[in-house]
Symmetry: C2
Subunit: 575 residues, 2 copies
């Protein structure tokens, strides 16, 4: 249970100076050998693991049946309210909850996404959790880790080079160079690569055409990697990817170019799940990492399935707020894989709630019940949204030092009026022990009857109706507006016969609307659809809304400016 008596006095509004940084905490704990963790906690012998150093390993999927046929564990999804710069702590809660469950004697593991270098160099900070609920080794996880994203980048760009090479050597399949949809990717924030003209310099240097780069986390290759359950399915789906149309307007696939085999070879190790440990030496699976706002935002199906084979409870997360993460988790990942969550945890913080109520970041630590109450509208909307999927979420309040008891009670009381309850999570400060109350609530849920999880829409309704359903039922929008380009793309998708696919909304994660400044739970807004991208290999249609970018930019002063390392390998400034 959380040590309530030990909480800081209510007047202490800011973290005290002696609070350690995430990397200080992460490096203060000596990790166990990952082979020991795997053996003790999962019953996995060293022969089925491929070590990457002493504290990271890949699970050799060849040692197991793929796809997995029997899952012993129960799946818990951690999602969150609409994120703010104050942070809500979704990964922290995910890891803390797994540690808490383990403290209760439950064989649990966490299952999260791999971080991208882009935000790491930009402004986001790490993606390994925080405080006493982190996955380690933290610096390695946030840097190249086991190279999975580099492999995705290489496979994606290999295809791009084969596309342009095909044009250069006579264009046998008759690919229309003006209508190639396959772009290139890089695992960096690099706005100058968004829109390019390539192939300049004369006949020896290819066919000039417009193109651009997205961030690797938006790559269809990443999406495919995160949805397959075997090498064969990986090659099959990569082959299905559409890279453009020919001069007759018919889709041209990766298979038409003969690139599916090579791309699969490039991904032969990346398709294997990675295993690390929490600060409390419980298993943390980390695999795949599509962004939650511009992609489907879930770790891999293969990691989730294998985690469920070796643990009784698997705690996973999905990107950004529940409107994006939980929705895509259910409507895309669960729809395609057959996985179903047994319980959902919805994370919030007092500070984030206040920001949703209109307070600026600088003032979030001040007592402010007025803005807190206003911000609760955001939480309420997420609760009722999740209830539409047939599950009532447990609300976790991720406590910051200095949170006021009265304000915490305000949230609890508010939540209790929504047919559920809120639990204070102190794992940021206390690790698994601080998450025991939350773990008890989750245990009760997973011990109970499995909920009847419902997708928000059926496969067979029209694509525009799928978008309309999400816009009106989840976002509070009154209408959907399609750009001329989007309308044309919609018609192309219908003509090509892909209307049964689910949609993957790409929009700002900072509001239910397409305007990041509209906080709380706005209603009556319009979802403006700018562009549609058919991902025939991944099996969904990306719907790009508002002005969201599939290639982020760096801020004025990138975080990378603060990085340093000494001759002993000690890294500073990373987080």
């Amino acid at each position: 249970m959380p040590k309530k008596g030990e909480q800081p006095p209510q007047s202490e509004m800011e973290p005290s100076p002696e609070i350690l940084s995430d990397i200080e905490i992460a490096t203060s704990v000596r990790p166990e050998s990952i082979l020991d963790v795997a053996e003790k906690r999962l019953g996995l012998t060293p022969d089925v693991l491929i070590p990457y150093g002493h504290h990271i390993a890949k699970l050799n999927i060849r040692a197991f049946d793929n796809p997995v046929t029997e899952l012993k564990g129960k799946l818990v999804l951690v999602t969150a309210m609409t994120p703010t710069p104050a942070g809500e702590g979704k990964t922290t809660t995910c890891i803390g909850l797994s540690d808490g469950l383990n403290r209760l004697g439950i064989n649990a593991s966490a299952c999260i996404r791999e971080p991208s270098l882009g935000p790491c160099f930009g402004m986001k900070g790490g993606a390994a959790g925080g405080g006493r609920s982190q996955a380690i080794p933290m610096a390695d996880l946030n840097l190249h880790f086991t190279g999975d994203f580099h492999a995705v980048t290489a496979a994606h760009n290999l295809l791009a080079s084969l596309v342009d090479n095909h044009l250069h050597w006579g264009n046998k399949v008759g690919l229309d160079p003006r209508r190639i949809s396959w772009r290139r990717v890089v695992d960096l924030n690099d706005r100058a690569l968004r829109n390019l003209i390539i192939g300049l310099g004369g006949a020896a240097h290819g066919i000039p055409r417009e193109s651009g780069f997205d961030i690797t986390m938006a790559s269809e290759v990443m999406a495919v990697l995160c949805l397959v359950t075997s090498i064969d399915e990986l090659q099959q789906r990569l082959g299905d990817i559409i890279i453009g149309v020919n001069y007759d307007g018919l889709p041209v696939t990766v298979r038409d170019l003969g690139a599916d085999g090579a791309m699969t070879v490039v991904l032969k190790d990346a398709v294997m799940p990675n295993l690390i440990q929490s600060l409390e030496h419980n298993p943390v699976w980390v695999h795949g990492g599509p962004f939650g706002h511009i992609a489907h935002g879930c770790n891999s199906v293969i990691a989730t399935q294998l985690a469920l084979t070796f643990s009784d409870v698997v705690v996973t997360e999905a990107g950004f707020g529940a409107d994006l993460g939980a929705e895509k988790f259910i409507d895309i990942k669960c729809r395609q894989s057959g996985l179903r969550p047994h319980a959902i945890v919805l994370v919030c913080t007092l500070r984030a709630l206040k920001m949703q109520g209109g307070v600026v970041k600088e003032s979030v630590a001040l007592p402010d019940s007025k803005h807190l109450k206003k911000g609760l509208a955001n939480l309420a909307k997420h609760i009722t949204n999740i209830q539409q999927f047939g599950i009532t979420p447990i609300v976790a309040i991720n406590r910051h030092p200095g949170d006021l008891e009265t304000e915490l009670e305000t949230v609890k009381t508010f939540v209790s009026k929504h047919n559920t309850h809120a639990v204070i999570a102190d794992n940021w400060r206390d690790g698994g022990e601080g998450a025991e109350a939350l773990a008890l609530s989750v245990k009760t849920a997973v011990d109970g009857k499995a909920p009847d999880v419902e997708m928000l829409y059926h496969d067979d309704i029209a694509v525009e109706n799928k978008i309309h359903t999400l816009a009106t039922k989840l976002y509070g929008a009154k209408a959907v507006e399609f750009s001329i380009q989007a309308k044309k793309q919609l018609a192309e998708i219908q003509r090509a016969g892909f209307t049964t696919l689910p949609v993957c909304i790409a929009k700002t994660p900072y509001s239910f609307s397409v305007d990041p400044k509209q906080l709380g739970a706005p209603i009556g807004h319009v979802l403006t659809v700018r562009e549609l991208r058919l991902l025939a290999g991944a099996g969904f249609i990306v719907v790009i809304c508002g002005d969201v970018m599939t290639m982020p930019g760096l801020p004025r002063r990138p975080a990378a400016m603060n990085f340093s390392i000494d001759n002993n390998g000690n890294i500073k400034g990373l987080f």
Copy 2:
């Protein structure tokens, strides 16, 4: 000794059908645990190694003094005649020689470069040796290996994104966007990326400007990684890199942008040497991989130094023919590091000699003493070139099945007139046993007095004289011609005060001249210098000659089209 009695009959001109492919041989040998190889052959305990799977490890450089102060071993360079499509087998000889030395009871290791994905997907095939002289695990080595090149790519492109981000956010250092020399890189052959316009699409997407991509193996970051001896030196040299000039025409460095720390952090693991094994379980160091024709073509100094700390003889190689590889090895790698070769082996084959004599690839297996004799001019030029550095090379004839005894004798007799001798190497067929004769010759050389190795030019002669020296003394050229652009760049380099740096010639590897069709040992040609690039961090000036490209293209039918993999991870078509 080679089993001469067992050689195929002389009438057998083509490899017999039962000859196994490289990957068949490579996967037929069960590798030992790399920890065992390290302990048994190098005396390295597991605590100083970082495993990447069971057969690859990085040496944790933090466990050793850097830079290394005492080298116990002697260094042998393997170089080659001018390469042809028939192949000459430089890496094969390098690994076979190390195996042969080990068979003689000498504690030897090989030290080679990491392969690039670009040629792997294009046409070159693997870079792990061939036949019975290979480094394993071969597929992993040729694919992502330990991610070093991905890290180089990421560090290089992180800098590029920071450069464009700096322009976007007000350009505080006054960088002239028209004169930014820092391009981007990708570890692929992708001709359409050679010349680009980036930053298109409006004010939110950066400053439009011309730029382009090179292959990662031409990156200055790669060169720096391969020349430093510590993390501190890595950061220092990365900081020295010049990315362009400001509006006053003065150089702007990485340090000016504050990017050196982050780039070093990105390279924290890549700077550590990788250890694998030969088919005979002898140590093979594999680290770094600048191309030999467009970059300095040598594996890392740090790997070479550490190999020399743990082995009595280290056999290394340098890219393409001796005009490029051996020259850069001595004039750049040795000049900067203080390393000196004790012996040099010059590899040739009958087939490649015939091609240098004018035979087409399809006819190389036919008896043809006329073209063989004509082609020997190429070998002679390389021998006398190497003698200019103060070392007389031992010539290794890498025997193919079906090579005629009389033709082999022709080569031996020819070589003996050049103050040295030729040894037949049968290690492609027989492994280390087939290289014992060569190993004996090398043993005699390294047991003898160290040669007085001389650089071909002094630091303090003018840059154009350095180029002129190489052109006339090594290439047989009568003159050097500078383009208008190159003259301007020469003046800029002088103005910036970098005239004492050595030069790194970038030119076709297929001829002494800039014309790949001029075979043998052409004389009287002109070295046309197109462009100069100052690599202030790497500490040399790249001199781009003829129409050589720093970004290769893919052929009409890329090798990637043949790749496949099954659910058990068996790869086909790779080599």
